[in-house]
């Protein structure tokens, strides 16, 4: 738990995400996104094997383009997940006949996903509690 709250393990590159709001881009703080990058990627991969561009498109679609990753930064994050044993890659042939590097979540990754979800729940509840008290103070 302390690791999550203190800093994100893959924040250095995986957090370069812009937040699109009211037709303006706003940089989101690294620390906020670092921990959730693992969570989001593992969660997407737990549904089905995907290649990098599929992941990007799915992230965009589900977040209504809130999360717009600098797309190349996805790959060091995926490779780190693979080095940690959370995902495994393999080369398959995509719809257009082009070679694709797919990522599949491992058993270890599934366990990690469960941990990350739990951490995220505790984190978001805690943040909301703090915001709630701020609202009372400053509202």
């Amino acid at each position: 738990m302390s690791r999550f709250l203190s800093i994100a393990p893959i924040a250095d590159i995986g957090s370069d995400i812009s937040c699109f709001s009211e037709a303006r881009f706003m940089k989101v703080d690294k620390g906020l996104l670092g921990g959730s990058t693992n969570l989001m990627l593992l969660s997407l991969l737990s549904e089905s094997d995907k290649y990098g561009y599929e992941i990007i498109r799915e992230l965009e679609r589900r977040s209504d383009r809130t999360f717009q990753l600098q797309e190349g930064t996805l790959y060091p994050v995926l490779h780190k997940l693979e080095n940690n044993g959370y995902v495994k890659s393999y080369v398959g042939i995509g719809d257009n006949g082009r070679k694709r590097k797919y990522y599949r979540i491992t058993n270890c990754g599934v366990q990690q996903l469960a941990k990350e979800k739990k951490r995220w729940k505790v984190f978001s509840v805690s943040v909301n509690k703090v915001l709630g008290s701020e609202v009372q103070i400053f509202g």
Binding site: Y53, Q70, E71, P76, H79
Partner: protein, 233 residues
Amino acid sequence: MDKKESFLAEVLCCVRFPFDREKIRMELENHIEDRAGDYEGKGSDREAAVNLAVRDMGNAREIGQALNRQHNPVLGWIWLVTDVLAVLMAACLIVSLVLPSLSSLLSFNRLDPIPASDIVFRAEVDKKVKLDDMVIHISDVIYDTNGDLSMDYEYFDTRLWGAGWTFSNIGEISDNLGNHYSEGRFEESGGFVSRCRQIVSDFSAEADTLKIDYNSYNRKYRLEISLRAGDKK
């Protein structure tokens, strides 16, 4: 060089482990092509679509440096060397253990047959003795025109990883006339099942029984083989 190529080159020049560069290149190039395809679908021309796709990728140097951290050259080389060593060791194991065992099991290590024209008679014997974990099977006794008597036998250890010692002395050779034979020679074709030929010189043509007495290391056996029952040639 177009923008895509210069982007890929800049990323890959940061990755110090050369054997991973091609896979990284394939992955990033596919991504750019997919994104460019989407832009083309929305009406951009090819060049503009590729340029936009490259822009969306982000900073090539930062991506390359981050990838380099995940493709550590030291670990990469250790992995590569151990991988190659593992393959070599497996190959050595196959060459030194599996192939000889297979060849002996599949009877590729047969001894040179004695030419039929040299055989006076052949006795097909099927005698088995067991010494500890070693099984010795005497299969043929052949008397040839030179007066040599050849005893073909095979032996193997019943344990998978046996002691591996050579069984080159099947015992003292004598006949029913009281002659003892110590002169001769020995041939062996090794393997999981070793095939051997013990040959004694000047065996008596009058003898009709071959006697083999083994008495070594407190182990004994005695075999009597009728030679007159053999197939006369």
